[in-house]
Every structure is written in C-alpha cells, then in structure tokens.
C-alpha cells in the first residue's frame, strides 16, 4: 500500500537528509584534508592554502617517512603491542566470562562484585603509576627487562567487556551444553565448540575494542617506557608533532614539504590498518553493541 507523503513528513525527511549529510561531511573532512595536506608542498600547507584538494603535489613527505627508521620501529612496536595485548586480553576475558556465566559457580556473586567494583572505583593515576613501577621492578628481577611486556600484560583489561561476554554466554541455551556433555565433551571443548561459535558477534566486537585500545594506547606507554626504541606509533607521532610545533625548529627548514605534511603522512599510515579491518568487523559490532549496550 503506497501512501502519499504528508507535508510535515516530507519536510522532516529533507531536514534529516541534509543534516546527516552535513554531519557525515564534517566527519570525513579532516581525513580528506589529511590526505590533501600530506601531498601538498611547503607553501600550500604552511600558509594553510590547502582547504580541500591538494596543491602543488609532492610525495617527499611520504618518502621522508618511509626512510625514517624510527617510524618503522615504532610501527613494529605498535603491531607487537596490539597483537599480544589483544590475544592476552581476549583469552583472559573469555575464560573468565565463561566461568562467571555458569550458575553453578560457587561465590559467583562475589567474583562478579570483584569485577564490577573496578568499574565503580579506580585508585587513580598516581597509585597506578606507583603500582606499575613496582611491577617493573618485579619483572626486572625475574628477567623481563623489556617494558613491552609490562604494557602487554599489565595494562588494559576492562571489566565492562568481560561483563558483555558473560551476558552473551549466559544467553546460550543450556540444553546445547548438556547435549555436548552427554557426548563426552570436556569443559574446554564445550567452550571452544559451543560457546565461542555461538557468541561470534560479541567476541568480534570485544576483540575490536581490545585491539583498538591497544593500537591507540598512549599515556601509559609513554610514561612507563623509558627507552625511545620501545615507543609505539602514537607516542612517536605525538613526539614528532611536539618537535615541529616548536617554531624554533622552523628556522633553517629548507625542504619542499611542510613539517605538518610528514605528520599527516604518519597519521594516514597509522589509520590504514583500522580502515582495512573496519568493514569486516562492522557487521558484527552493530549487533554486538546492541546485544551488550542495554541489558
């Protein structure tokens, strides 16, 4: 049945389309600008003549970045931290959430409170800092001198994500689990063969959150890693930015690209992996966020 659009409906539709399109353009503009500015020449970027499209195209900023060993070093560090950090958090969270989802678990309420309390109250940055310093000392005495492992093991772990996983596991019908146990499945097999495949979308969402927070991590990595060779990408980008925002640095600058262009180029390189993964995981996370957001 096709109904004629009422005038108020039509107006609302037009407003919706216009405002949403404008908002989408605002969301995309900084990215388009970043690309344009990274390939425009010194004058165009430095005197802000680039507004949307690149002017006087050069690729020297990219060339400089590709030849920058420290940049690639920090990139590898970030890949390392993200890979091991995500796996560590995912394994711990899935195991913990699975156990917490079982009604037969003794002191279940107590364990839940133990988790949830960390969402209500955190000790704050100074105690956390002192705690990380102590951890560093302990790690050093047992022979882990690399601060990478401190960042991988000690940071992250959000109680909220574990609760999302737990809620999702609780939704798996117990009949399926019982059937698996009758067939002789062990606890691990039940988790691996029944629960994980049935909670794929929430696990993908949570993994995305873990991965993103690792990829984007800045403050603690910067504070706890004394060795500049260990710094991840985000710390390196910020360091470069701080260096060139200092106007003293500009004296004697004779390159064809503006210092800003190099930072724009780094930013592009840092978001490419996210852009590659994003479409694959997007179909999961809309579902996952809905499942977990309002419970």
């Amino acid at each position: 049945m096709k109904r004629k659009l009422e005038i108020s409906e039509l107006i609302f539709k037009i407003i919706s389309y216009t405002l949403l399109t404008m908002f989408a353009i605002c969301c995309l503009y900084p990215f388009i600008y970043t690309i344009s500015a990274s390939i425009s020449d010194y004058d165009a970027v430095n005197y802000s003549k680039v507004v949307l499209l690149p002017k006087n195209i050069q690729f020297e900023a990219f060339a400089k970045m590709f030849n920058d060993n420290m940049f690639w070093n920090s990139y590898t560090n970030t890949l390392f931290l993200t890979f091991y950090g995500t796996i560590w958090e995912l394994v711990l969270s899935i195991l913990g959430a699975y156990a917490l989802s079982k009604k037969r678990l003794m002191f279940r309420k107590g364990f839940n409170f133990f988790l949830v309390f960390t969402m209500w109250f955190s000790a704050g940055t100074v105690p956390q800092y002192l705690n990380y310093l102590d951890t560093q000392k302990v790690f050093n005495t047992i022979g882990i001198t690399d601060d990478k492992w401190l960042v991988v093991l000690a940071m992250g772990m959000a109680a909220m994500n574990i609760i999302l996983l737990r809620n999702s596991f609780e939704g798996v019908p117990s009949e399926i689990e019982e059937a698996a146990i009758v067939d002789g499945a062990t606890e691990m097999q039940v988790l691996w063969r029944v629960y994980i495949p049935m909670s794929k979308s929430i696990i993908a969402t949570v993994a995305l959150f873990f991965g993103l927070s690792r990829w984007n991590g800045y403050y603690w990595a910067k504070t706890m890693m004394s060795n500049a060779n260990e710094h991840p990408l985000m710390v390196y980008i910020r360091k470069t930015l701080d260096m060139y925002q200092d106007t003293e640095q500009m004296i004697g600058w004779s390159e064809n690209y503006a210092p800003d262009s190099m930072i724009y180029a780094m930013i592009i390189c840092s978001i490419i992996p996210i852009l590659i993964i994003y479409p694959f995981i997007q179909k999961y996370f809309a579902k996952g966020v809905n499942a977990g957001g309002v419970k």
């Binding site: 009422e6 108020s8 409906e9 539709k13 919706s16 389309y17 949403l20 908002f23 989408a24 969301c27 600008y33 005197y47 003549k49 969270s93 195991l95 156990a99 917490l100 079982k102 037969r104 678990l105 003794m106 364990f111 133990f114 969402m119 209500w120 109250f121 955190s122 000790a123 704050g124 940055t125 100074v126 105690p127 956390q128 002192l130 705690n131 000690a154 062990t186 606890e187 691990m188 990829w215 984007n216 800045y218 403050y219 985000m234 710390v235 910020r238 930015l241 925002q245 106007t247 500009m250 930072i263 724009y264 930013i267 840092s270 996210i274 994003y278 966020v289 809905n290 957001g293 419970k295």
Partner: protein, 355 residues
C-alpha cells in the same frame, strides 16, 4: 542410596510413600562442607579458568588501591608506602582549605570545577545529539544511502586520541612569522566567529575556547557511533504502531511525540543514568594532549592535576604524590557515589539494574 531412605510405609493408605522429610535431609547433606568441597573440586576446571583474570585484576586494579594509603602518609621516594610516616588528613586539608606556603588549594578546586563542567557540558550537548542523529537515520529509507552515512559517521570513533588531537592541534595552530594559522581558524575567521588576532594566537592557547573545542571534538568523535544503540531501539518499533497513529491522523511530529519517544524512553533513561554515573570520570588522555600551560585555567581536570604533581613532580615540593593521590581519591569517591546512586535510581524506576 537405598530405597528405604526415600520410601516409608504409610499406615493410612497401606502403601509405601515418599518420606516428606527426606528432601530436608538431602538439603542438609548437600550443604555439608565436605559435599560443597566435592562439588567445587568436580568443577576445578571452571575455577582454574577464573584464576588468570582474578590475578590480573588483583595485581593491577586492586594493588593500586593499596597504594592509596599514600594519601595519609608522607611521600618518600625511597620508602615503600607501608614504611612511610602517617600524616593523617594533612594532604586533604591542604587541598581543601589550603595552607600558607603553597597555592595548591585554588588549583585543586579549579581542577575539580573543570572536571565537573567538562562532564556536565558533555552531558548537556553530547547526550542529546546521538538521539537526534538516530531519529534522522530512521528517516533515511534507502539502504545504500544509510550505509554510506553510517560508515562515515562511525569512523571518527575509531581514530585514536593522539590522531584526533594532533589533527586539532594542526587545524587550529597558531600563526607566526614563518607560518600561517590553521585551516579551521581560517574558516572561523571567514565566517566572522573569531577575529584575526585570536586566529593568530591559536585557539588552543586561549582558555575561553578550550571547552568548546573539547565538546565539539567529542561530538564529532562519538555522535555517530553512540547513535547505534538508539537507532536499534527505533527500528525495533513495530510498523503497526506508526500505522495506528496515522489512522488517528497523527502527523510526523505527533508520531515522534507519541510513538517514537515513548518506545525509546527506556533506552534513553538507561544511557542517561550511565552518563550521570560517569560524570566525574573524564578521560585524561585527551586533556593531556590538548592542553598547555596557557589553558590550565579551563582545561585542567583532577586527573591531570594528579599527573602533574604526582607523576611529573611539578613544583618539586616533595608532597606532590600525596596531593595527587588525595585529589583523585576524593574525585573518584564522589564518582563512585554517583554511580551507585544512579544505579539505585535505575533499579527503582525501571527494574533495570545496570550492573
């Protein structure tokens, strides 16, 4: 178990019937500690699965709470927190009422006020925007158009704080003899929102613009992504509700008022309560990356105050660690009370408990 335990001879009916007291006896036996231990041991794999998670939370979430003892002690770089001397509530007193030798108290109150204001404005402007965005998304019927718009508006959420703040720093950068000022400053000057002098000095160096920059970038980052939850609630509304409203002659606004809003009200309430609960937990990374000595006046929040004095040891008074932990502890205790209060209200109002 033998049959005689369960069945007793009933003289009235002349047959064996089940012993009504047996379930009580079973229960007592089930709760005997040996049997409890047996059931726990039978599930040892389950408990083993919990161990790593518990240890991580214990080491890196609960041990820092032990370090909070430092709030009541004299900071010392050599002694551990257990060995330091007690000073009672001296740090709290200094922060709240001030003392003769330092200007720390006004700075603490400024940070506390900024924390509250940044969160409050975030609630005021940042909370309704995703709902409006979701309402607009509902009007876009074409699947392709909607997907494109969704992908574009969700994208900023996935940028890191460093990338976002670096872009802001460069887009509103100050001008100098050898460089122009940022593109956004230029646009704002063209439409007459700011004057040339302001643009030259750089918006991030002017305290009066910090809150606006913080909120606008927050909306830019989160409005699209945060609309997912509300949009899901809107598309769950049955089409028959709209049809019924149309039958009764409801226009678009009346449908919004009487169909859409009531249907998503519970989602709105829950999200609102979550927001109120986290009113005092401002993410410090974004502030650290955006502020500078020129804008402390409006930009400094309690956690950056703690970081400056407690970790970076600014001022070098030796008391920084104590001040830092005490300031954030006060902030976080108030924050916790807000969360618990919000949760209690949620439970009373709608039978929905968030945790």
């Amino acid at each position: 178990m033998q049959v005689s335990d369960y069945l007793i001879f009933d003289e009235e009916s002349g047959t064996y019937i089940e012993d009504p007291e047996q379930s009580v006896r079973d229960d007592v036996e089930k709760h005997h500690w040996l049997n409890v231990l047996r059931t726990v041991l039978k599930d040892w794999r389950l408990y083993l699965m919990l161990v790593p998670m518990i240890l991580v939370f214990l080491f890196w979430r609960y041990f820092p709470m032990y370090e909070l003892l430092g709030c009541f002690k004299m900071p010392d770089s050599i002694k551990s927190v257990a060995e330091q001397d007690y000073v009672g509530f001296a740090h709290f007193q200094t922060l709240i009422f001030g003392n003769a030798t330092s200007s720390i108290s006004p700075e603490f109150w400024r940070a506390f006020r900024n924390t509250f204001l940044l969160s409050f404005y975030g609630l005021l402007f940042g909370f309704p925007t995703p709902i409006i965005v979701a309402l607009f998304f509902n009007e876009v019927r074409s699947n392709i158009a909607r997907s494109v718009l969704q992908v574009a508006t969700y994208l900023p959420k996935f940028m890191s704080t460093v990338v976002m703040t670096s872009l802001i720093v460069m887009l509103v950068k100050q001008g100098g003899e050898m460089s122009g000022y940022g593109v956004i400053s230029q646009m704002l000057e063209n439409i007459g929102a700011i004057d040339h002098d302001t643009a030259m000095r750089g918006l991030l160096h002017m305290p009066q613009y910090f809150r606006a920059i913080y909120q606008i970038s927050g909306i830019w980052e989160g409005a699209g992504y945060d609309s997912i939850v509300f949009f899901a609630a809107i598309i769950a509304i049955s089409p028959t509700s709209y049809e019924a409203a149309q039958m009764d002659g409801a226009g678009k606004m009346a449908q919004m008022r009487y169909v859409v809003l009531p249907s998503i009200l519970s989602t709105i309430v829950i999200m609102l309560i979550t927001r109120i609960g986290s009113l005092l937990s401002i993410g410090y990374e974004k502030v650290i990356l955006l502020y500078n000595a020129d804008t402390y006046q409006t930009a400094e929040v309690v956690s950056t105050f703690s970081i400056r004095y407690g970790i970076n040891n600014e001022g070098g008074s030796g008391l920084g660690k104590g001040w830092g932990s005490a300031a954030e502890m006060m902030n976080n205790v108030v924050g916790m009370l807000l969360v618990i209060g919000a949760n209690t209200i949620a439970r009373k109002a709608s039978d929905v408990s968030l945790y």
